[in-house]
Symmetry: C2
Subunit: 193 residues, 2 copies
């Protein structure tokens, strides 16, 4: 059969997966629903039977992205059970790996940039998901025995967020190239306190 990328799953799943990919690559306002349905091998009516609007689809895509990220955290625990410090280093390593593999940055941050209307329905979802991720990193730092866990977690967050956006403007050879070194020396200095 070999439909290429389009697997023979249910239309709703194909739409969601395709939309995630296209929003990520071309931005939310850079992709129309027609292009999504065509790439998903279906049609516009079917999309609107499963999602009440494009905004609703955007939100579902963001939730799906966050869920994928969450699964990565599960992997940290699986690989280093109980060893929170090792998990923190794994976080740094994985972050750098994802920086190298993809230069379009964080879907939620990008969406926040694009959807500037302060009352856009996706904004509260973005905030919730980002806050949950922040709490996870804070907990990881704290459980790794670091004193100022919140401050380290927030610093690492900003570094990563900055690296992801910096890559999009100056490329991979810019400041983001030093992300691992920065993060590791930060962790070391926080542990030394």
């Amino acid at each position: 059969m070999a439909d290429g990328v389009v697997e023979r799953s249910r239309p709703r799943d194909r739409i969601l997966e395709t939309a995630q990919d296209m929003f990520h690559k071309h931005g939310i306002k850079g992709v129309g629903v027609d292009a999504i349905t065509e790439a998903a091998g279906t049609n516009k009516m079917t999309l609107y039977r499963h999602f009440e609007s494009k905004d609703e689809l955007i939100i579902e895509c963001l939730r799906a992205t966050a869920a994928k990220a969450s699964r990565i955290w599960d992997d940290f625990e699986a690989r280093h059970p109980g060893d929170k410090l090792a998990q923190l280093h794994a976080w740094v390593h994985k972050a750098s790996e994802m920086l190298s593999a993809d230069s379009r940055g964080c879907d939620m941050a990008n969406a926040a940039v694009e959807l500037s209307e302060s009352d856009h329905p996706a904004r509260r979802v973005i905030k919730e998901l980002k806050e949950a991720q922040r709490e996870k990193l804070v907990a990881l730092c704290r459980d790794a025995g670091i004193g100022q866990a919140e401050l380290l977690a927030d610093t690492l967050s900003l570094l990563l967020e900055g690296a992801r956006v910096s890559m999009q403007s100056v490329g991979a050879e810019g400041p983001s190239a030093q992300f691992v070194r920065m993060a590791e020396s930060l962790i070391a200095s926080f542990r030394a306190r």
Copy 2:
């Protein structure tokens, strides 16, 4: 007379200033040329007599924004002539001040997120301007007597870039609230080496 925001300057200047403001607030793809000309108190034909396309207008806006930022650097030198370390602290202070005053982040970074097409004419301009800013900060760090000047400059860059994008997704009470503390303790630790 009191035309409100629209001063009685020449149409080209009004268009440029208005476009900068609207692109900043609502994003590039969130603003049409009709809306710009109307807000600038002029019309579409006049816009296209001065700018050959919307893309060209975008580029001019980015250059203008960078020029404004450049003027801020002149102010550092004027306030702390010769004292590069004081200028570095002034940079931190000014960055934090701008974070508090505005939550829409950096126009160039936002543009890079929105204009995802890799061959978009604005992308090379963004890269050039960002690289120039990076070199300025590296030079400032080096002249302030810091050993690993590039690494400090890049770290501060990523922190600021991260703070600006973080504000847009989680708001001013998120990780970006600690920007000054992070930056200052970074500078201190680099100076101690």
